[in-house]
């Protein structure tokens, strides 16, 4: 399973990178979303998959899966949501102000005030 996941994660990273390198702002935001999915799965996979019951005591299980990556990912999910939301509003406002969502056209030059 871990081997399969390694390839799934690789593909997620690949598509995310491709999207982030494009010129459209929306595609970049979508790319960051995919990137965070990939990163979360990567952390989980590195900790080992399906090694026991869910990390909740009281079920009389013999072993539990690793709770630490899960705690890390929980934090990461929330933060990546915050960043995505921020980015989305930034894109929306930038489009309103500048009239474009092509980042090449947004390029600031030193002549601009």
């Amino acid at each position: 399973m871990e081997i399969l996941m390694a390839f799934v994660i690789g593909i997620l990273f690949m598509t995310a990178t491709y999207l982030m390198l494009s010129k459209s702002l929306l595609r970049i935001i979508v790319g960051t979303g995919l990137l965070s999915h990939g990163a979360h799965l990567l952390i989980l996979t590195m900790g080992g998959l399906k090694r026991g019951a869910a990390p909740i005591l009281g079920g009389n299980a013999e072993s539990y899966t690793d709770p630490l990556p899960q705690a890390l990912i929980l934090t990461a999910i929330v933060i990546s949501f915050g960043v995505t939301a921020f980015f989305l509003v930034l894109a929306y406002r930038a489009y309103q102000e500048l009239g474009t969502d092509n980042i090449e056209e947004m390029r600031g030059t030193e002549k601009d005030d």
Binding site: S22, L26, M46
Partner: protein
């Protein structure tokens, strides 16, 4: 903290309060608050004099970073004390002079005195630190304070140019010196100078000995304005005159001399040391003196004369170092060079300090320093004239002033060089007295120009900005004290010989002394009829002749190119570096986010791939994998398909929905991977995200395909495949190699015991790693504030429109 440490730090501490004094007591010149400090310090250092005179030294240690061998060790020996007295003594006079020189209403006195005190503390630190690293720190601080003082009138282009030049050259030398110190540390394992000296003989044949020697000399030569690094000193004359008198003639430029003197016991026996120090010194002396003659600005003459005189002292130290090879001579005739060096060091501070102050007075009272405009001032400024003629005659080496004595000793030392039978001196040694003699003739000429072109000759009132009159008494006190020292040291040179010169020599040539011995120094006027006397006579006769016929020689002096090749080279280098780095930066910092991301990802691939390969970390181990179920395969296919489809999505709606689909699939993954909390959170977040995307959907622009070029797509594809591959490799390797046990067991065991919770993930988040969660909330709060701000923000442009 001993009183010695306090003495070094006192100027730095007082400098903190200077702006306060300046603000509160506006009516009183800020200099009056500064003046007591150097006087007190001078008296304090005088009180140490008996200790060094008895051949001992005072050491106080504050442990700073003992593990690295860096301690704030202060050591006062003969050499250090001599410099401390110069720094505080001349410092006091310069502060007094500056009180009358800088008007309290017009000048930024708070800046000026802060910089000056910064320098004073730094310079004391340089000459009293026994630890090389501490000394280096103070050394650079002197460069910085010099930079600030040269750029004091920063609204002038020339000041900024001069400040930058001096900074670049001296800091370059300082860094070389640091390199030398580190090489010494590699050889000896210590940064303490005292310990270093005891190992000097052991490292003499070490492979790093010569590189260390060269690095340290580079530091000394840049600081002391030796050829070819002297070019910063004439430009440093843009500083206010008190600063020129203090930093750029009496103290800071002598830091290089100090360094050479300090390291003579370590490097002195090496032939390179002799040839470089003596050779560069004598070359600088002749070069500086010739250039001084062709200057027309009083301060420029003095600047080149300082360059020349520093060369003189340098060459003497080099010649003196050769005395190491004659340990068994009863009367070591070669030590006279070191005696002369120290004596001239003191003399130079007195006469050059006074001459700088006179140049400042002339500038102050007439509005110009150009000797073509000046002349005939003797009637207006008789006292200034007297001071300057004494100073100049001493500089020219005329009796009965102190300059005569040290110049005679200089000749003696140079003549002795020809008697040495080491380092090929039998053949080349004759050049030294010849060069010294020629340089002295030019020294004589520019000394005469300095006085007589200013004070005698035709008075040209129409060329002066002000009507000249005698300077106020306050301006005259300091130079008057200095020239009285010129006379006193001239008549009673032996006042200095036991108190200062002999202890300082003991620091420079310690190996020539047995236990309890000291150098017997006796300076006398009359040596009998010998070659030195004839050399001096020759200097005077030829000098007078050259000065009298100066106008005839003008074309020859002028034929030396006005813009020196060295200065051109420096300017060329600076401009080249600036424009070159600008073009280079411009070429890759092109303002496009995509380019930056390309750099980031490319570097990401490069560094991770090389590390993986270099550390041989790629492992592939299938023994420890968990089973693959049908559902998981289906989910994996969903994720892969979904993410690849986004790449080809034509409309924004499709891409948003596909992103949502991938997100929900990932949350199903969490279910299968026994992570119920993650699954729940992911579901909630994904729902909100999709909702948010759809809210913005209305406003967002149509998804257009901007990228059309094939090469563009190809680069993107290559980089993304690279990133994907590297991440896959890392995931595989991370799974296959377990370097150490997981720390998770602690949480499994203690979740209930310590925190009385049953959901481990929740307990970790709120109990064990509570701060992480706190900061997570902070991030969210900042993001929401940012979002709120952006929605509310209306840029001015829109309002106007």
């Amino acid at each position: 903290m001993s009183s010695l440490h306090l003495a070094i730090l006192a100027p730095l501490i007082v400098s903190i309060f200077i702006p306060l004094f300046y603000k509160i007591f506006r009516r009183i010149h800020t200099g009056w608050f500064v003046l007591p400090l150097p006087i007190l310090l001078f008296v304090y250092f005088l009180s140490i004099l008996p200790i060094t005179m008895s051949g001992k030294s005072l050491i106080k240690i504050i442990n700073w970073i003992p593990s690295l061998g860096i301690n704030f060790t202060v050591k006062v020996d003969g050499l250090g004390l001599l410099f401390s007295l110069l720094i505080t003594g001349i410092g006091a006079l310069v502060v007094l002079y500056s009180i009358y020189y800088l008007a309290k209403n017009k000048e930024k006195l708070n800046h000026f005195y802060v910089y000056l005190l910064l320098f004073m503390g730094a310079m004391l630190g340089v000459v009293l630190s026994d630890n090389l690293i501490v000394m280096y720190a103070f050394w650079e601080l002197t460069s910085f304070s010099s930079f600030l003082l040269i750029g004091y009138w920063y609204e002038r282009d020339k000041s900024r140019y001069g400040a930058q030049k001096s900074m670049l050259i001296t800091v370059f030398g300082g860094l070389a010196m640091l390199g030398g110190f580190i090489l010494l540390y590699i050889m000896t394992g210590t940064f303490s100078f005292t310990e270093l000296m005891s190992q000097a003989n052991d490292i003499f044949n070490h492979a790093l000995f010569v590189p260390a020697l060269l690095c340290i000399l580079l530091g000394a030569f840049t600081k002391s304005a030796q050829f070819p690094f002297y070019i910063w000193l004439p430009d440093a004359m843009e500083a206010p005159t008190p600063v020129s008198a203090y930093l750029h003639s009496a103290t800071m430029v002598k830091a290089g001399i100090y360094l050479v003197a300090r390291f003579t016991p370590v490097f002195g026996e090496h032939y390179l040391w002799f040839w470089l120090v003596t050779g560069v010194g004598i070359l600088t002396m002749i070069w500086g003196s010739v250039f001084a003659v062709k200057q027309t600005d009083l301060k420029a003459i003095l600047a080149f004369s300082t360059v020349s005189q520093l060369g003189l002292i340098m060459s003497l130290l080099g010649a003196g170092a050769a005395a190491h090879h004659y340990k068994f001579l009863d009367e070591n005739i070669f030590t006279v060079a070191v005696t002369a060096a120290i004596f001239h060091l003191i003399n130079h501070a007195t006469f050059k300090g006074s001459l700088f102050m006179v140049a400042g007075i002339v500038d102050h009272e007439t509005g110009t320093r150009d000797i073509r405009k000046l002349g005939g001032l003797i009637h207006f400024m008789p006292i200034t004239f007297t001071i300057s003629i004494i100073g100049a005659f001493s500089m020219a080496g005329l009796p009965p002033f102190n300059g005569f004595l040290s110049k005679e000793m200089f000749f003696t030392a140079m003549v002795h060089v020809t008697e040495m039978d080491i380092f090929n001196l039998e053949t080349w040694g004759i050049l030294f007295p010849v060069f010294a003699w020629i340089a002295s003739i030019f020294t004589f000429v520019y000394s005469m120009i300095l006085v007589f072109k200013t004070f005698t000759g035709k008075y040209q009132p129409e060329k002066l900005e002000k009507i000249p009159h005698e300077a106020s008494i306050g301006l005259l006190i300091s130079p008057a004290i200095l020239v009285s020292l010129v006379i006193i040291f001239g008549f009673f040179p032996n006042l200095l010989s036991d108190s200062l010169i002999s202890p300082a020599m003991a620091s420079i040539l310690p190996s020539l002394l047995g236990a309890g011995e000291e150098f017997k120094v006796h300076i006398s006027f009359w040596h009998g009829i010998n070659i030195e006397l004839f050399m001096t006579l020759g200097v005077i006769i030829l000098g007078v002749f050259l000065y009298q016929t100066l106008s005839r020689w003008k074309p020859i002096y002028k034929s030396i190119p006005e813009k020196l090749a060295l200065n051109r080279f420096y300017d060329f280098l600076i401009e080249g570096v600036q424009s070159g780095s600008y073009t280079f930066t411009k070429s890759y910092m092109n303002g496009s986010i995509r380019s930056y991301l390309v750099y980031v990802f490319a570097f990401f691939i490069f560094i991770l791939a090389t590390t993986l390969i270099g550390k041989n970390a790629i492992t592939f181990d299938t023994s420890n994998v968990s089973s693959i179920g049908v559902y998981e395969v289906i989910l994996a296919i969903f994720v892969v398909l979904g993410s690849i489809c986004i790449l080809f999505a034509k409309s924004r709606m499709t891409s948003i929905i596909l992103l949502g689909a991938v997100g929900y699939t990932v949350s199903l993954f969490y279910v299968l991977f026994r992570a119920p909390d993650l699954a729940l959170t992911q579901l909630v977040i994904e729902t909100i995200s999709v909702a948010l995307f759809l809210v913005c959907f209305y406003h967002l622009p149509k998804l257009r395909k901007f990228e059309t070029r094939m090469s563009f797509k190809l680069t993107n594809a290559l980089i993304s495949i690279g990133v994907g591959a590297v991440v896959t490799l890392i995931a595989l390797s991370a799974h296959s190699s377990k370097l150490f046990d997981s720390i998770s067991q602690y949480y499994v065991e203690n979740t209930y015991k310590e925190a009385a919770g049953k959901n481990m993930v929740n307990v970790i988040l709120v109990d064990f790693r509570g701060f992480d969660t706190l900061f997570e909330i902070t991030v969210l709060a900042i993001a929401s504030l940012g979002i709120f701000g952006m929605i509310k923000l209306r840029l001015n442009r829109r309002k106007e429109g």
